[in-house]
Each structure stands twice: as structure tokens, then as C-alpha cells.
Amino acid sequence: MIETIKYTATEELADLFTQNREIYNEGCPDFMNRKRSEALDKFVKTGIPSRKNENYKYTDLRPVFQNDFTVLPRYVQQQIDLHELFHCDVPQLNTHLVLLINGWYYGHNRKIGQLPNGVVLGSLNHVCREHPHLIEKAYNQLAGISDDPIANLNTTMAKDGLFLYVPDDVKIDKPIQIVNLLYAKENTFAVQRNMFVLGKNSEATIVFCDHTLNHNYYILNNLSECFLEEDSKFNFYAVQNMHNGAVNNTHFFADLKERSTLHTNTLTLNGGLVRNNINVKLNGEYAHADLNGLTLADEKQHIDNFITIDHRVPNCTSNQLYKNILDNKASGAFSGRIHVLRDAQKTEAYQRNNNVLLSETAEMNTKPQLIIDADDVRCSHGATVGRIDEDALFYLRTRGIGEKEARLMIMFAFADEVLSQVNIKVLRQRLEELVNRRLRGELGPCQTCSFNFRKP
């Protein structure tokens, strides 16, 4: 059964939740339901963000919620086998594959291959009921501090998503591929909640793919909380590929303990309006965060990467590298705040945001920021728009390469600086091929996918 309620604004979203509170609470543990009320209050207080909200200066979310759509406070049984419907088009990508549908763990997931002992991988809702101790203490610890209204809306309405727990000293070699599918008969607002817990000295890699399987209007509100214990290592690749009319709102919160390492790579290949929030707290000495992102956007797509890194203790390092290539009427935004708190000495934090506009009508707004409250630090940020290395161009031309080709080579190198950080070889090759053909104007991003995600 699908609850269909029409609304247009913050209050109506709040009413929708309040009227259906019992359905939302149903099947969830108390600790989860208690958080809903707190989060709802915070959401209502801030409201759906417009450009007046400094954090959303370049992305107005109000129009997003003005369309009619349905919400799914209960799991909906699918009529067809999603494994038949969806095939990952990256050849020979050897992963543990997990499907999610409209924010819910897919009930007919094929059996996941052999995972090391003690690893828990599955539905958040299920684990909440079966092993609440794994979740209760940490749930909403990171998102709960945030005053972001969309994060709070997630906490208000979330019921399911993915859960991963890797015990101390366990390393999962094979990447875990999580495919977030959007597939419904009507326009849908999907809410998904994930949690990743990496024990001491553990290691895991996740490939997080977003796909729309038809052309209905989708809003995905996808929030992940991620806990890295001492000496753990976590790689998180997000490959975003939704159709031009879809809205993808992601939050990624991470808490890093001593000597842990986080590596993220957000690759936005397509989407109508994409807003990625990454919030990293370096809470243990010698922790390291490495955040990368590449956006290829055209048509009227709007992509906003909003990063905050808090250096809370001494001796941590962080690196941000975000690039945007924008064509047609696409617009991009970037904010990459580094905050070095008092006494977080010996911090090294770097940030770079480089952008290229390919058309007269594309637009880029960037807001690199440094907030430094300790003196013995090395911090820098750099941002460029439109900068192509003319010396390199000249060098290539003196070697007999035509200007157009030389420019493409340089543009590809521009994008490849981010892609080369992808450590899964077949995925990297696939992405490189896509980017290369895209730069040459040979294809829309998903022409070779099983669905053409462009709106007809």
C-alpha cells in the first residue's frame, strides 16, 4: 500500500509525518523513533532551504518539493525481479552486489558471496531489530548535531537503508557494491538511511551507485553515517547516475578516530539537481581524509558539492580535490570549508577546486573557505574557473598536435586527476572511457546503459 498525500511546503511535510507518525514508527526500535520528533522540530525551525540560507546560497531546494509525489513509509513489494531489470554496465566489476529500492533494502537480494567472519551487511531496519546494540549508541550521533534541514528531514522519515559492520582487524578485499535504485509507478520521495561501522584496524571499500530506472520524478534523500575506529581504512566511491529530472540529496557524515583513513570519490555523471553534503570530523590524531569529486554536467543540471572538514585534534591531514566540467546551461557549486579548531596544531589541510565551463550559458559558483584557529598549521586552498594550462597546450602543439585535439587531451587530463584516484581498475577504466567520449561530445552519459536516463 502506498500512502499518497499531496503537499507543497515545510509545514505540509511536517503534517504528513505527524499524521502518519504511527506508520513511520511501525517496525522501528524506540531509539530510532525518539529521534524523529527532535529532528522534526529542527526541520520545521529551519524549513526547506532557500538561497537565503548561507549554506544553500547557490542551491534553492524549495522548487524541488513543489511537485506532487508520494512517500513510502512501508516497504513495497516489487512486481518484477530487479536483478533482471538492472545490470551493472561496468564489465568484469567483481563486487559483493546489494540492491536497494526507493530507499529500502531489496527483499529479494541474491545471496551475498562469502564475507569474512563477523561482518554484518544488510538492511538497517532488519539489523535494528535483530542486533540493536550495533546501532543504538551510534545512530544519529553525527547527523543529529547537524542543523541541515534535509538531514533532519531524513532522520524524521528514515526507516531503512544499508548497514555495514566490519569487526576489528577484519579486511574485506572485494568491494561492496550498493546500487540505490529508484523505480516506482508514481513520482516518489525516497528516504534512505545508511550506517557504516569500521572496527579497529579494519578495511572496506564501498561502491555506491544511484540509478533511476524510469522517468518518473524522484527525490532521493540519502544519508550515511560512518564511524572509523582506530587504524581503520574506508574507501567510498559514489557513482551518481540519475535522469535529468531527478533530485539527489546526499549526506555523508564521518567520524575518524586515531590513524584512520577515509577516502571518498564522488563521481556525478548525471542528475537533475544533485546536492552532496560531506561532513568529516577528524577526532583522532594522525587521522587522514582524502575527498575527491568530479562532475560532468550539461543540459540544465545543477550539481552542488558542499564539504566541511573539521580538524578537531592535532596532527591530522586532509585533502580535497573537486573538479567540475559544465556544459550547456548546467550550473555547478562548490563549498569546501576547512575548519582548524583551536589547538589542532600541526594540521595539514589542502583544498583545490578547479572548474571548466564549456558553453556560454554554463555557470559555476565556488566558495572555498578556511577557518583557522591554530597557528602551527599548513593550510591552503585554491580555486580556478576556466584555467587551462596554456603552456601545456603550446607544448603539445609544438609537437604537432592540433589545437582541438590538444585541448581535449588537456581536458581529459584535467578530469583524470580525479579519476586516477579510483583504485578499482575496471571502474576507473569505464569512467575514463565515459569521460573521454563525453568530452568529445560523442555521447550522453548513459547512452550505453540499459536505460537511457535522459528524459525523452
Binding site: 589547538d343 555557470e363 572555498p368 602551527d376 580555486a383 580556478t384 584555467r387
Partner: protein, 481 residues
Amino acid sequence: MTEQDKILDTVTKQEYKYGFVTDIESDTIEKGLNEEVVRLISAKKQEPQWLLDFRLKAYRKWLEMKSPNWAYLKIPSIDFQDIIYYSAPKQKKQLNSLDEVDPELLETFNKLGIPLEEQKHLAGVAVDAVMDSVSVKTTFKETLAERGIIFCSFSEAVREYPDLVKKYLGNAVPYADNYFAALNSAVFSDGSFCYIPKGVRCPMELSTYFRINAANTGQFERTLIVADDDSYVSYLEGCTAPQRDENQLHAAVVEIIALERAEVKYSTVQNWYPGDKNGKGGIYNFVTKRGICRGDFSKISWTQVETGSAITWKYPSCVMLGDHSTGEFYSVALTNNHQQADTGTKMIHIGKNTRSLIVSKGISAGVSNNSYRGLVKVASRADKARNFSQCDSLLLGDKCGAHTFPYIECSNKTAILEHEATTSKISEDQIFYCNQRGIGTEDAIGMIVNGYAREVLNKLPMEFAVEAQKLLQISLEGSVG
């Protein structure tokens, strides 16, 4: 704690040397602000109706506006009814020669090292001295007049050149531009006006020296500079205030209009009283400065050295309307003790082939906070616009903060924008190297800070550069035992 930290930690604030008060009779109105006060100021200055209308529009708008509430800037709430909006040194009649100026007043400016007596003035700087927002004396008027240059007090300009003032007032900074600009537009008492005619290169530096003297008084001066086609002028501004326990408000507006191929260089050395080492007293310095490069190939260049004020809030900006026009911003902002500086620029590219350059050097010591806040905006028709921004921060000690908030908005694919920012401290190795050559730690830090700021100091006219250099050293004294 290392030795250097200890040195940095010992904060014994050097006396602010301009902190004296001059005993001059002044014509002061009751404190408080309402529409009647606005009318009274205008009446006292015998202003024409259009100017009163401008003030009233601004005042009504201001009532609807709110004080800026920005991240990492604390502006305490200001009781606008507790401020005197008009205080002029009493003058019995129009002055014809220097002999008629109140000797106390002359003494004030002499103490500040600003000789108003022309014969003493070898350096050839024309000075307009403004005390409590009222222009006291303008020097070298005749020399300038020979070339058709108008350099006088704002009130005089309203009387003598109403058409020019009417034409350009509010062009660069509209009365409703922001909270403090609106306040200024409503209650400004005086300031400087400058017009450089077509094809004239101003033969000397023009300078305004601002001095707040009276207690409980806000200073609201307004400067308007118009550079006609093919003209050039370099303009200097200096400021000091007495040492007082209460905070005083300074909300000024500076407007620059550069027409075809005109070039205006505006330099500021701002040394308002910063408050004592515990953060008591000091000037709230809320200034709106904006230039419009209206003509093709015109250029406006802002250079500022900001060492004073309890709070500095200013963003000298350039709107590049004309094709091939250029905007520049060079800034050194030094904060010590409890000072806050929130400064930067807006570079708005509208014309084609426009260029802008931003060099900002922040230096924080004590428990101060120093922020760069800036915007570079390229409109869609600004083909081949080019910007380079360099925003560096230097921290002295572990209790201060340095923040960088740049905004870059680009809607043109042929534009090239580059922004770089770094944060660093003075390295112990650099200090040791100086020590090894016999240079004490305090001198070494002063030397390194001046070296760090040199790129900007070099942009100042010679005399100012020397003063600024000393100022940087003095402002740091005490922050390094």
C-alpha cells in the same frame, strides 16, 4: 610552550600615540536619531531640498534594514539613540586664511604630523582635514584650481558645484546599499569632494585626514571622487581618534567614478583607536567603499593598511562596467588583542576584457580575529574577464584566528579566475636565522611581518609606505614581549 610562544604570549600593549583629546569648542546637537535630526543636520548645513530628500529616503530605508549578522564576525548591538550625529568645530565665519583657523585645531593636526600650513608642506600633498566629519581646512586649493581640479569639503561642493554632486552622489553606493551606507546617507555631516577634469593628471597626491575628537559622537563622512575622461588622481586617506573607554561609531561612504580611460588610486592607512588590551573601547569602523569603472580602459585601485579600530568592516569594491577596465585591491589587515577585522573586496566584472587583482594579507596576533571576505563575480557578457586573487594569512600565537571566505561566481566560459590562499605562521627557523645575525626576536618578527606585507606596502605612495611600515611594527609591539 616554546620560547617563541612565551614571547608571543606576553601581551603588554603599547600606548596608542594618537589618543589625545583636543579642547575645542564644538557645535553639537542632542544625541539620538529620528527624522527631525536628519532634517536638523540638513538645515544646519543649509542644504538644498534634493539633498534633504536623499537623506530622508535613506533614513526611512535604514529603519527597515538590519545590522549584518555574519559568520565569524561579532557586531555588538549599537544603541543608535546614544550617539551624537552632528558635532562641528565651532567656526564663527568662513575662513579665508590659515591665520583664522583655531590655533588649538592647528595644534591637533600638527600633533598628528599633518601640517596644514602650506609653506611647510614640501612633499606636495594637498590635504583636506576632516575633524568629527566636518572639513576644517583644505590646502593647496589654488594650485589645484589652476588646473580645474576641484578639491574641497563636501558641503562646499554642494554649495558651489551642486550639479556635479547631484549627478554622481549615490551612483556607486546607492542610499539603500547596506545598513551602514543607509545610515551614512541619512546623517553624513561632511567629507571631501574631488573632481578631476578631462585629460588632467593631478600633479600631487590628494589627501584627507580624518580625526574623531568629540566624545559620544559618531563620524559619518562621505567622500565622492569623480575622474573625468583621461584623468588621473592618487588619493590618500588617514585616520586617528582619541583613546576613549566607550566604543565610537564610524560609518563612512566613499564613492569613486572613473570615466573613459581615467585612473584613480585610493590609499588608506587606517589607524583608528583599536581599544585597550582587554578589548575596552575602540572605534567601530563600518565603511562602504565602492568604485565604478564606468569608462572603457578605466582603472580603480584600492590599497589599504588596516591596523586600527575595534571592529573593521569594509570591502572596497570595483564594478567594472567599461570594457577593458581594471579593478585592484591590495590590503594588509593587522589585528592584535581583541580586534576584529572583516575585510575584503567585491570585484564585479560586467564589461568585456575586464581584469581584477586581489592581494590580501591578514596578520592576526593576540586573541584577535581576522577575516577575508570577498566576491569575484563575472557576468555572462564579461567575455575574457580575468581575475587573480591571493589571500594569505599569518598567525602570531595560538589564540588568534584567520578566516578566508571567498565567493567566486562565474557565468562566462571565456573568463579565467584564480584564487589562492595560504595560512602560515612565522617559522622558528626564520627567527633563529635573524637572531643568529644579532637581530632580536621582536625586531625579527616586525621585519618578517613587513616582508610578508611588502607586496601591498609597495603600492602605497612613498610617505604613506613609511608610515604604514612603522604602524605595523608598533601595532605588533607588545604582542611579542
